[in-house]
């Protein structure tokens, strides 16, 4: 058998003629059934690829008088410690910026109003400087010196209390962001008038989200979300390669989502008249006060702002809410880096030009 092996192969080759080594798969050609047999499994594969389990870990904690939820891409073992470290940072910020905590930087600033400058932490300087900037661009619609008014109305503290008009008018001169002196080089803050109070409630949460993201990134997390109540900053992408899918709460139907939007490396914040409010004599009083009139702003049901920085969207959501639907949308459209969604007082939804087609309504 061995001897005539090559001869045997040759004869075999001849017998099989030229297609001996033709690849058989090609010979079967691509008629419809065979093509289908190839394509269908590939399609199934593609569809199934959406069902992949994403390694996302989420943790919540009661901080900053609300719930902070941090989401990070990674397994629990990988990311839980990083998330806890981020919570500690946010807790540190809370201890600096809470107006209710005795001895906090903000508390010391308020207590020294009209008396003298107070040396405060760098973070507090950053936030107050940014707040003044935002007050400037919104023409005072956002103003952290709202403190005395907030205290008078006492949302969340007093029960359904409507202050006397005289009391409100007396406080209005104290509400002026230009009366905050910030000395960045000395890290000092001074409220020029006696009785002034700053309230960082409309901006500190956004700053906390920014700082949170910074910590997560520095500690090696590739993608995630820091949500300080509704002030949300995202970075990176979901493990499945998609952008983070963020819902926006419906201002009147609490169980519903108004719309959703996909975000990568940007922030979103919503201010609504539904968060804290009461209805008395058929009038609705919400917790967002207009610094000019001293009464709750009534132009919108909710305002959602989307931009890069958390601190900016947090403050602007409040500021645009105070501006009202028309002026608010004008403001949003005049800034290229800012987008927004406004639900006006009748419940009509207005979307800024840069978001059209990106949100489903």
């Amino acid at each position: 058998m061995h001897k005539d092996f090559s001869a045997k192969i040759m004869s075999n080759v001849k017998a099989q003629s030229s297609n001996y080594f033709d690849i058989w798969i090609l010979k079967f050609g691509f008629n419809k059934i065979r093509l289908g047999l190839f394509i269908i499994p590939v399609l199934i594969l593609l569809i199934l690829s959406c069902a992949k389990e994403p390694p996302i870990f989420k943790k919540s904690k009661f901080l900053m008088d609300t719930v902070v939820t941090i989401t990070a891409v990674g397994t629990k073992d990988e990311v839980e410690k990083v998330i806890d470290a981020t919570f500690s940072e946010i807790e540190r910020l809370e201890n600096l910026m809470s107006g209710f905590k005795e001895g906090s930087d903000v508390d010391r600033i308020n207590k020294s109003a009209g008396i003298g400058p107070v040396k405060v932490n760098r973070d507090v300087i950053n936030v107050i400087a940014k707040a003044k900037e935002i007050s400037e661009i919104t023409g005072g619609a956002f103003d952290i010196t709202i403190g005395p008014l907030s205290k008078l109305w006492g949302f969340g503290v007093k029960k359904e209390y409507i202050p006397q008009e005289d009391d409100i008018k007396k406080l209005l001169p104290l509400i002026d962001y230009r009366q905050i002196s910030v000395d960045e080089s000395k890290s000092e803050v001074f409220l020029n008038k006696n009785g002034m109070m700053i309230d960082l409630g409309g901006i500190a949460k956004g700053y906390a989200a920014d700082r949170g993201v910074e910590i997560l990134k520095n500690m090696g997390i590739k993608a995630g979300i820091v949500a300080v109540s509704g002030d949300i900053r995202t970075f990176g992408k979901r493990p499945d390669g998609k952008a983070w899918h963020i819902g926006i709460k419906h201002p009147r139907e609490s169980e519903k989502v108004l719309t959703a939007i996909d975000l990568e490396d940007s922030s979103i914040s919503t201010s609504g008249d539904y968060e804290r409010f009461f209805i008395k004599d058929r009038r609705r009083y919400n917790h967002i006060l207009n610094p000019k009139s001293g009464y709750p702003a009534t132009g919108c049901q909710s305002v959602t702002i989307i931009s890069k920085e958390g601190i900016l969207v947090d403050a602007l959501a409040t500021g645009v809410f105070v501006l009202g639907t028309e002026k608010g949308m004008e403001f949003i459209e005049s800034n290229k880096s800012i987008e927004g969604i406004i639900v006006d007082s009748k419940g009509e939804v207005k979307v800024s030009s840069g978001l059209r087609g990106k949100v489903g309504l």
């Binding site: 949500a227 509704g230 609490s254 169980e255």
Partner: protein, 127 residues
Amino acid sequence: MGFKDIIKAMTFGDKVLILLLSVITVLSFYYVKVIFPEGAEASIEIEGKARGSYLLAEDRMIEINGSLGTAKIEIKGGKIRVIRAPCRDKICMKEGWISKAGESLICLPNKVMVYITGEARYDAISW
């Protein structure tokens, strides 16, 4: 030799095997549903610490002690809600029933959080 011939060449054993494996696959769907009930579990946390997980399939009342006082939570018909809260605003009670993965009821003063486990439709909600 065409496609039809190949199908014809399938043996009795093949057919039994396909049937058997299909049955196993269908059963595995059922089995997975049993060990991982879909979105059907609520977790309760007090001050960030897990208090327990409850199947929404079983109607029951749960009393929990938050940092402010006792809250009463009801599970009924696959949904969960807070029916008594010690706080003043009662925001968690006004929220009503929740049942979908990712939804939550939060009582800030009492530091109690109730949420439905499972993969949520949204990664976060802005409010």
